[in-house]
């Protein structure tokens, strides 16, 4: 396998401008090291959290594992680097991690300001509303006249105002200082609606004694596209991370899962054959083996499996696929084809 040389990056390293890992090519660095350094959340149920024995799991963690399997053929060869909100982008920029998989919202400013690039939207989040099931409300547009718990001084509060105003609905904001206070107020009946990012609402819901009696409405009133990010100066690495995500999605769409991937190896469908490496040399062209995607799917599953295991129907959170369902099945997850 040959890697492209990056003269510009090399020159920058020589000038001492760039951190060493970037100049050497992240893929080669990871292979030499034999470990993937993955920046994750310090602890967020469903996305990334360590268990009592220190083993990490979650939706974002599984993306780290998928990359590790693609590159190193071992989901265990990941060093998880827990990062706070404040330090995450600097940690990526400085080369402390190879990839950041930490429920981070893709915004323009983060790409232009930090010299990083998002590899895709692995999870479409957005601000939403939680209401008691008994209220029999099915749409956010039915919330006219509600008392809404919201954390003060946040964009959430501003979005709430904009949404109700734009839709000619009256509301009373019950302004709180923290998510915990909002939840307490909601539990006490001081408000009958609570607003926050939807993934957050599902996590908060679990803390209610009668969690099953509350639902999160499907309407998102803001855009919070979450995804992994890499340094902008290593396009080969960015491309690899991007196609890890796309391959996981394509696998689900084609019916290739951890338990069907062996069967897929004898498939006659060209799309399936290219995905699992029976045709083409897509893996080699990225500096990986032919069967990179097959190994990955076998070890961590396809996108749907990763979703359901950590966030969906097989997890305590029970977040419906919603926007994160495949484009062909009611959602907006859409991957370019492998060909």
């Amino acid at each position: 396998m040959t890697r492209k040389v990056w003269p510009v990056a090399g020159a920058l390293v020589a000038l001492g401008v760039m951190a060493a890992p970037a100049g050497a090519g992240t893929l080669d660095t990871v292979k030499e090291r034999g470990r993937l350094l993955c920046g994750v959340n310090t602890g967020l149920g469903g996305f990334s959290a360590p268990d009592d024995a220190g083993a990490w799991s979650g939706f974002d963690v599984d993306f780290c594992k998928a990359v590790a399997v693609a590159v190193l053929d071992d989901a265990g060869k990941v060093d998880y680097v827990p990062l706070t909100t404040a330090e995450r982008f600097e940690a990526l920029k400085s080369g402390k991690v190879d990839i950041l998989s930490r429920n981070s919202t893709w915004t323009m400013g983060r790409e232009t300001g930090f010299g990083l690039t998002f590899v895709g939207i692995t999870y479409y989040d957005g601000q939403g509303f939680m209401v008691p099931r008994a209220a029999n409300v099915f749409s956010a547009l039915e919330l006219d006249g509600s008392k809404v718990c919201v954390q003060g001084g946040t964009t959430t509060e501003a979005n709430l105002h904009d949404y109700f105003t734009a839709n000619n609905m009256a509301y009373e904001a019950v302004v709180t200082a923290s998510p915990a206070e909002s939840l307490a107020a909601y539990g006490d009946g001081r408000c009958n609606v609570i607003t926050s990012d939807m993934s957050q609402l599902y996590a908060e819901r679990l803390k209610l004694a009668d969690a099953d009696e509350h639902i999160v409405l499907p309407d998102a009133i803001s855009k919070e596209p979450l995804g992994p990010a890499v340094r902008m100066d290593d396009p080969d690495w960015a491309l690899l991370a991007k196609w890890v995500y796309f391959a996981l999605l394509n696998a689900e769409e084609l019916g290739v899962a951890s338990d069907t991937v062996d069967e897929a190896l004898s498939s006659g469908k060209p799309e399936v054959r290219r995905l699992v490496g029976l045709e083409g040399s897509f893996g080699e062209e990225m500096g990986l083996t032919k069967d990179w995607a097959a190994r990955m799917i076998k070890a961590v599953g396809n996108y749907g499996e990763i979703y359901e295991r950590n966030l969906g129907v097989d997890s305590p959170l029970g977040i419906p696929r919603g926007m994160n369902q495949l484009w062909s099945r009611g959602g907006i997850q859409y991957a370019p084809p492998i060909r």
């Binding site: 099931r133 099915f138 749409s139 547009l141 969690a211 099953d212 639902i215 409405l217 499907p218 309407d219 998102a220 769409e253 084609l254 019916g255 290739v256 899962a257 951890s258 338990d259 069907t260 069967e263 897929a264 498939s267 469908k269 399936v272 599953g301 499996e305 969906g312 129907v313 029970g318 419906p320 696929r321 919603g322 926007m323 369902q325 484009w327 099945r329 009611g330 959602g331 907006i332």
Partner: protein
């Protein structure tokens, strides 16, 4: 009569993807963890009346509004068999999602049907194939609590298949050895009240390899 063998399907009109059905029956992976997790080996229990606690499903299988982007018109039923969910399309890119149990080997086709008939507390006539396998089953059971067909049934076209209730709430979320699309009685009553005869029913399977 919520169960038929594949041989019965030979008599069905085209569009039932017979080859796919056969292929699936022959190549269905065995001893596979992820699939097994979603299958349940359970016999019908005619006469059994579930307790209210049993009918209280895990939250993810209870009806809830979800984001659902589709070209199908509001009012259409879309069933994602592999997900174990039935979606009743609403306006504004939403759907009401119900948890369902699906037939393991009786209902593996995909395509379009229409609700041809609605029945409250349907009677149950286990088909001969089923009697052969479970000889103790009654030949006829009048509709009512304890009937495996549950509180309501929506007949699908001129097929033998139905969306119906169940007296076995624990089968929701699973593929079971017999059965079409089953919902707990409370949910099938809710669905029954929302859809008229003539409702379009779209059934989707996961992609075939």
């Amino acid at each position: 009569m919520n169960f038929r063998t594949i041989t019965r399907m030979f008599g069905r009109p085209a569009g039932f993807a017979l080859a796919a059905v056969l292929g699936l029956a022959l190549t269905a992976p065995t001893g596979v963890e992820a699939k097994q997790r979603k299958e349940l080996a359970i016999q019908d229990q005619p006469g059994y009346v579930p307790t209210p606690q049993e009918e209280m499903l895990p939250p993810q299988y209870r009806p809830q509004p979800v984001y659902f982007r589709t070209n199908e018109a509001p009012g259409t039923i879309v069933i994602h068999t592999d997900e174990r969910f039935l979606y009743l399309v609403q306006d504004g890119g939403r759907a009401i999602r119900y948890g369902i149990g699906v037939g393991r080997d009786g209902f593996q086709w995909q395509g379009l049907q229409k609700v041809s008939r609605k029945q409250e507390w349907p009677d149950w006539r286990p088909p001969p194939e089923m009697i052969q396998r479970q000889p103790y089953l009654p030949r006829f059971m009048a509709g009512g609590p304890g009937n495996p067909m549950g509180a309501r049934a929506l007949y699908l076209g001129d097929t033998i298949y139905r969306i119906h209730g169940t007296n076995q709430p624990q089968t929701i979320g699973y593929a079971v050895s017999s059965g079409c699309f089953r919902l707990v009685n409370r949910d099938v009553i809710d669905l029954f009240n929302r859809v008229p005869v003539g409702t379009k029913v779209v059934i989707l399977q996961s992609a075939k390899l």
